[in-house]
């Protein structure tokens, strides 16, 4: 084996090792966060589909809330990085309405907690609800300017 080929194979091994680690982490994250039901009959809640977009000036959270009433939506910052969304449904939805007969329970609310990845001014939030989509706009906290010499 030439020194060059030995070097290449070591890089290849490292790459493979890194790929395996990445896949493992991805799998664990998925198991922890995603491989669970999107409903909870104990709390009578459904988990909505959500998005978080970070722009240079603000963080925009959106959530798809079918059957939600505009006046019964609550958006509450829990701490600096977490926002709670509660939205009461127009009517109670039971498993049978979703075509499922082997589970029991009914749901009256959408509920989720959304993680915000950057610092925001949550008291200056703007909330709107249009065509069943909730939009929360949170201005980002301004830091200091770096002086260019």
């Amino acid at each position: 084996m030439t020194p060059e080929s030995r070097k290449r194979s070591i890089f290849e091994l490292i790459r493979e090792y890194m790929r395996a680690i990445e896949e493992e982490i991805e799998e664990r994250v998925r198991e922890f966060f995603e491989e669970r039901p999107s409903w909870n009959p104990r709390t009578c809640t459904l988990e909505p589909l959500c998005n978080v977009f970070v722009t240079p000036n603000e963080v925009i959270i959106t959530a798809d809330l079918p059957y939600a009433e505009e006046n019964d939506i609550e958006v509450k910052p829990l701490n600096e990085n977490l926002v709670e969304i509660k939205a009461k449904l127009k009517r109670k939805i039971c498993f049978r309405d979703l075509g499922i007969t082997h589970h029991k329970g009914e749901f009256s609310m959408f509920y989720c907690q959304v993680h915000i990845p950057v610092a925001v001014e949550s008291n200056r939030r703007k909330v709107s609800f249009r065509n069943g989509i909730l939009e929360v706009r949170l201005p980002r906290k301004r830091g200091y300017k770096i002086k260019i010499e």
């Binding site: 995603e34 998005n51 798809d64 079918p66 979703l98």
Partner: protein, 265 residues
């Protein structure tokens, strides 16, 4: 009648035909993608036209699962149809690493059945979707002649369109429909993809309705979309889980590249 075909020695893929498949049908695709537009549109076509299951894909490329309907098991990727239409629809998010083999197999099967045209129905991710009152539908075609037909410039199979379609001229397409167009272009099968502006990862019944409205101009079938629009909230509620799983696969396919601006100098 059963057709068994193996595409490769490593993966098991076959399409099992339950009835005689018509020749020269139109083949539609309603596969999980942006806003589940295709799946929602396909489900509505199946119920409106009372299409029957005519075939299904049996493969180890899909997750080990069955779908239960009225107490009996069904394969998640099925083909519905009548004497004029074949419609491939999946009730499971297509795994990103199997997408090439699945799509190549479906297109080859359609070619074997001598379909007249393939029409993938889907969405274009649109960042400001919630601000749109009515999403627009764009068309993509597999040949310059079909593009001309969609623009109302020339005839295709003895027909000329009165009102032109808006063509998706430049950009990237990623996912199952990109492959349908690619394989159709390579094999000289006419294909027109109808893509509505849609939410990236929220089920979008309104976008599906707009696609169906435009579909009726391509293949001259009448589909009432009023029921689909009425059931919008119910669909959005029921489709949350498949949307979540589809989004995960779209991320693996690098679907966000569709936002990219192409470099043409």
């Amino acid at each position: 009648m059963v057709t068994v075909r193996n595409l490769s020695s490593t993966n098991y893929v076959r399409i099992v035909e339950r009835t005689l498949i018509p020749s020269e049908a139109v083949m539609l695709f309603g596969l999980p993608d942006v806003g589940l537009v295709g799946v929602i549109a396909a489900s509505h076509i199946i119920s409106e036209l009372e299409l029957e299951e005519v075939a299904y894909m049996d493969t180890d490329l899909l997750p080990p699962m069955i779908v239960l309907h009225k107490g009996t098991p069904h394969m998640p990727l099925r083909i519905f149809g009548n004497e004029k239409i074949l419609l491939a629809v999946s009730e499971v998010a297509l795994p990103a690493d199997a997408i090439h083999r699945i799509m190549r197999f479906l297109v080859e099967w359609g070619k074997q059945k001598n379909v007249k045209i393939m029409i993938p129905m889907g969405g274009i991710p649109t960042p400001n979707r919630q601000e749109l009152v009515e999403p627009k539908v764009f068309a993509v075609a597999s040949t310059p002649q079909l593009v001309g037909w969609l623009e109302g410039k020339n005839e295709w199979q003895g027909r000329k369109l009165d009102k032109p379609f808006e063509i998706l001229r430049e950009g990237y397409m990623v996912g199952p429909y990109a492959l349908v167009l690619q394989y159709c272009m390579q094999q000289n099968i006419p294909a027109v993809s109808l893509l509505a502006q849609a939410f990236y990862n929220y089920p979008d019944p309104q976008a599906a309705a707009m696609v169906l409205k435009e579909l009726s101009r391509v293949i001259e079938i009448g589909i009432d979309i009023s029921q689909l629009l009425e059931k919008g909230e119910e669909i959005r509620l029921k489709a949350r889980d498949i949307m979540k799983r589809t989004e995960r696969e779209l991320t693996k396919m690098r679907k966000a590249q569709e936002y990219d601006i192409p470099l043409y100098v």
